[in-house]
C-alpha cells in the first residue's frame, strides 16, 4: 500500500457531460429521458398563497411562459453550466439578449463603450436605436485597448464587444479590457457567439455578462432563432452607486433590492423579473428544445468546425485567386498570440478573405458556389458564405463600412462540417467563375 495520500479532486461533471445533462432531472419529469417540451403558456397555482408566493419571488417556479418555462429553463441552466456562470436567461434571439442586457443595466442618460467591430444589426442598435432611449455609445476599435479606457465617462455603465469581431476577426484583449472596466466599477459584456463555451469561457478572462446568439454554433442546425445572456456572478453591483436599480429598493419590482437578495444572480433575476415582464422577448419552448439538441453535440461539432477552418485557411492562403486571409490561426494575424491564449481549443470557424478582382469577382464567386450556402447566418453545420458589404452590413454608409473594417472584396466564410475536400472543390468552382471576367477583360 502506498503511503501517499490520495489527492482530493472535485468530481463535478465536465463539459461534454454537462452538454448532455445539465439543467434536467428525469425523475421530476415522469422519467422522460429526453427533455419534455412544455408547450404551455401558464401554470396552475396550488392556491392563492402559492400564487402570491411566486409573484413575490418567495418561491421558485413558473407563472407564465413569457417570464419562464421549464423547457427553456433547462436550456438556461445548461448554458450557464457550460459557461461557468451562475445563471442565464434565454431570449427569442441574440439581438433581444443584447437589448435586454443593455436595458437591465442602463437607463436614459447612461453611456456605453462599445467595440466598433460588431454584427451590422448590433452596430445599428448601439448607433441608432439606443440613443432613442437616451442611451449613448462611444465606439472604439477592438484592438485599441487604451481607447476603451479613454472613452469611459462618468455615466458609463458598461463595456460591450464581440470577443472576435464580426466580420474582420479582430480580437478584443478581453483580460485587459476587463481590468479597465473593473477599475471603473463597470461590467464587461461580451458577445461570444463565435466561440461558444467550448472554445472560450469569457468569465475566466474577466467578462461579467456573456451573450450568445444560440441560433449559431450552439444550436448548429440552423433551424431555430434563440439568444441567451449569462451572468458570471463575480461583479459587485454594490461597490458604487452606479446601478441604483440593482442595489436600492426598486420601485419597478415591489421595492426589491436585487443585489442584496440575489447577489451573484442579481443581474439575471432583474433581467427576468423586469425585462421579460416589460419587453417580453421570450423564447418558445420548441425552439429551446431544438437548441438543446444542438448543444448535446457541441464539442464534437466545434472540433470539426475548427479542423475544417484551419484546412480552409491553408487552402485559401495558397490560392491564386485570394488576396488576403484573416483568421486568428494565421501566424501573421495581428491577434495570433492573443488567440492562442483566449481560444486554446481552436480559433473558430469564421474566415474572412479578400478575393482578387474586388466586388465583381466576389459577386461571381458567391453566385457560383453550389455546396456553400449564400445566406445571412453563421455557425451552421453547413458551410455558409456572404459578401458583407452587400449583405449583412449593407445598411452602412461608406464611412461606417470603413470604420467597421470592411472592404468591398471581403467574403465572409462560416466553415461547416462537411467533408473538407467537398468544400474545397466547391470553392474551385466559385474561384473559376470569379476569374472569368478578368480573363476576358485581360485579352
Amino acid at each position: 500500500m502506498s503511503d501517499k495520500k490520495k489527492e482530493l479532486k472535485p468530481n463535478t461533471y465536465k463539459f461534454d457531460t454537462l452538454s448532455l445533462h445539465a439543467g434536467y432531472q428525469p425523475h421530476k419529469n415522469a422519467g422522460s429521458r429526453q427533455v419534455p417540451i412544455y408547450q404551455t403558456t401558464s401554470y396552475l397555482f396550488d392556491d392563492v398563497d402559492h400564487a402570491a408566493a411566486l409573484f413575490n419571488l418567495e418561491r421558485g417556479g413558473h407563472i407564465y411562459s413569457r417570464i419562464s418555462n421549464p423547457t427553456v429553463g433547462v436550456l438556461e441552466e445548461r448554458v450557464a453550466s457550460l459557461e461557468g456562470g451562475t445563471a442565464a436567461l434565454a431570449t427569442s434571439s441574440g439581438m433581444s439578449a443584447i437589448f435586454l442586457a443593455v436595458m437591465t443595466l442602463c437607463e436614459a442618460g447612461d453611456h456605453l463603450v462599445v467595440s466598433s467591430q460588431l454584427y451590422g444589426g448590433t452596430v445599428n442598435l448601439f448607433r441608432l436605436t439606443l440613443p432613442k432611449f437616451g442611451i449613448k455609445c462611444t465606439f472604439v476599435k477592438p484592438r485599441d485597448t487604451e481607447g476603451f479606457k479613454k472613452a469611459i465617462q462618468k455615466n458609463t455603465k458598461g463595456i460591450f464587444g464581440e470577443l472576435v469581431g464580426n466580420p474582420g476577426n479582430e480580437i478584443m484583449n478581453m483580460p485587459e479590457i476587463a481590468k479597465i472596466a473593473h477599475e471603473a466599477g463597470i461590467p464587461l459584456m461580451v458577445d461570444a457567439t463565435y466561440q461558444t463555451p467550448y472554445l472560450c469561457k469569457p468569465f475566466e478572462h474577466g467578462a461579467d455578462i456573456v451573450i450568445h446568439s444560440l441560433t449559431k454554433w450552439m444550436a448548429g442546425h440552423g433551424s431555430s432563432m434563440a439568444g441567451i445572456l449569462v451572468e458570471g456572478g463575480k461583479f459587485d453591483w454594490m461597490q458604487n452607486d452606479k446601478f441604483p436599480t440593482m442595489t436600492k429598493p426598486y420601485e419597478g419590482y415591489h421595492g426589491l433590492s436585487f443585489a442584496e437578495e440575489f447577489g451573484p444572480t442579481a443581474f439575471t433575476m432583474k433581467a427576468r423579473a423586469e425585462g421579460m415582464r416589460d419587453f417580453g422577448p421570450c423564447l418558445s419552448p420548441q425552439n429551446a428544445w431544438n437548441v438543446l439538441q444542438g448543444i448535446e453535440t457541441l464539442s464534437v461539432r466545434m472540433k470539426k468546425h475548427c479542423y475544417n477552418a484551419e484546412e480552409m485557411v491553408k487552402y485559401l492562403m495558397n490560392h491564386e485567386s485570394v488576396a488576403w486571409v484573416s483568421h486568428p490561426s494565421v501566424p501573421d494575424h495581428p491577434d495570433h498570440e492573443l488567440a492562442k491564449k483566449l481560444l486554446p481549443n481552436g480559433r473558430g470557424s469564421m474566415i474572412a478573405f479578400g478575393i482578387k478582382g474586388g466586388k465583381e469577382a466576389g459577386v461571381a464567386f458567391i453566385n457560383n458556389v453550389k455546396l456553400a450556402s449564400h445566406l445571412a447566418n453563421v455557425g451552421d453545420t453547413r458551410t455558409l458564405v456572404i459578401h458583407p458589404a452587400s449583405g449583412t452590413h449593407s445598411q452602412m454608409d461608406e464611412a461606417t463600412l470603413k470604420f467597421a473594417g470592411l472592404s468591398h472584396d471581403m467574403i465572409r466564410l462560416s466553415v461547416g462540417i462537411e467533408d473538407i475536400e467537398d468544400i474545397k472543390n466547391d470553392f474551385e468552382v466559385g474561384f473559376r467563375a470569379a476569374r472569368k471576367p478578368r480573363l476576358v477583360s485581360n485579352q
Binding site: A80, T86, E261
Partner: protein
C-alpha cells in the same frame, strides 16, 4: 438591514419586507463560508407572512463587517447578541450545516431566548477532512470546488434549480468565493473541526426542534443527523429523498413546506 453587534456592522436580509419589532423573529444562520443568500427561498416566504425573517451574514461574511469568529461557541453567543441588538427578547432559529452547530449551541446556552430550533443538514459534530481544511486555510479555491461537489447530491449536480435559469453549483461557488476563502471558509472549517460540544448541547435543548435531513447528504449524512436528533426531546425528523446537503436550495419547496408547518405550529404569529 444593517445594525451593530459588538461594534461591528451586521448585515441581515429581511426577505424583502421592512423589519418590524412587533413581529415574531426568525433568525437564519448560514453554513461554512456562505452568506444570507442561501436562504432566499425560505426567508422571503416568512417575511411576506407576518414574521421578521433575518438571514444574517456572520461576521466577516457576505455584507457583514468584522472578522470571522473562530469558534462555534463565539458564534452562538453572537447569534444571541443579534436577538438583543434588534430589540427582541426571543427568536426561532434556523440553521444549515455549520449553522446547525451554532444554533444548537445557542439554544443550549440561551434556553429562554430560543423558542424553536430548525436544523437542516445538521449533525452533532462536523469533523473536517484534513486536506479540505488545509486547502481552505491556504486560500485555495479548490476547497470551494470540493465543498460544492460534496454539498450537492447527484440530482443537484445536474441542476434543476427551483428558480428558473439558476445553476446550483456555480451559484454556490460564487457565494463561497465572494470574500477571501481563508478568512471565511478556512476559519469556519477550523471552528467546525474544533467543536466537540454538539451532543452535550443537544441534550439540554427543550424547545420544539425539527431536523431536515437528505438521503444523499455526504457532508452530514442522515445517520449523523438522526444521532443528533435522538438526543433532543421530542425532535421531529424529516428526510428528503434524492437530495444532498444543500437541501434548502436543491429541494427548496419541500424544505419550505416542512419548515412552514413546523414554525407556524410551534411559533405562531399570536405568540409575538
Amino acid at each position: 438591514m444593517k445594525f451593530k453587534v459588538n461594534n461591528n456592522e451586521v448585515y441581515a436580509s429581511t426577505g424583502g419586507r421592512p423589519f418590524d419589532k412587533k413581529k415574531p423573529l426568525i433568525i437564519f444562520v448560514h453554513g461554512s463560508g456562505l452568506t444570507h443568500m442561501t436562504w432566499v427561498l425560505q426567508t422571503r416566504y416568512f417575511a411576506f407572512h407576518g414574521y421578521n425573517a433575518l438571514a444574517i451574514d456572520l461576521p466577516g461574511h457576505g455584507l457583514s463587517g468584522g472578522e470571522s469568529l473562530k469558534s462555534i461557541e463565539e458564534m452562538a453567543d453572537w447569534v444571541a447578541a443579534v436577538i438583543d441588538a434588534v430589540g427582541h427578547k426571543e427568536a426561532s432559529l434556523v440553521g444549515h450545516s455549520q449553522g446547525c452547530l451554532v444554533t444548537v449551541e445557542c439554544t443550549a446556552r440561551y434556553p429562554d431566548k430560543i423558542k424553536t430550533l430548525s436544523l437542516m443538514g445538521g449533525a452533532g459534530a462536523i469533523p473536517m477532512n484534513p486536506q479540505l481544511l488545509s486547502l481552505a486555510e491556504n486560500n485555495d479555491p479548490k476547497a470551494v470546488d470540493l465543498m460544492m461537489d460534496w454539498a450537492h447530491g447527484p440530482a443537484g449536480h445536474f441542476g434543476g434549480h427551483p428558480v428558473p435559469g439558476l445553476y446550483h453549483i456555480n451559484t454556490g461557488t460564487m457565494l463561497a468565493k465572494s470574500r477571501t476563502i481563508q478568512n471565511t471558509l478556512g476559519v469556519d472549517f477550523r471552528a467546525c473541526d474544533n467543536y466537540k460540544n454538539g451532543f452535550e448541547a443537544a441534550k439540554k435543548i427543550k424547545c420544539p426542534t425539527l431536523s431536515i435531513l437528505a438521503t444523499d447528504d455526504k457532508m452530514c449524512p442522515v445517520k449523523e443527523g438522526k444521532k443528533l436528533a435522538a438526543l433532543i426531546d421530542g425532535s421531529q425528523v424529516d428526510i428528503i429523498d434524492n437530495c444532498g446537503h444543500m437541501m434548502l436550495l436543491e429541494e427548496a419547496d419541500r424544505v419550505l413546506t416542512v419548515l412552514k408547518k413546523f414554525i407556524t405550529t410551534n411559533y405562531p404569529l399570536l405568540s409575538s
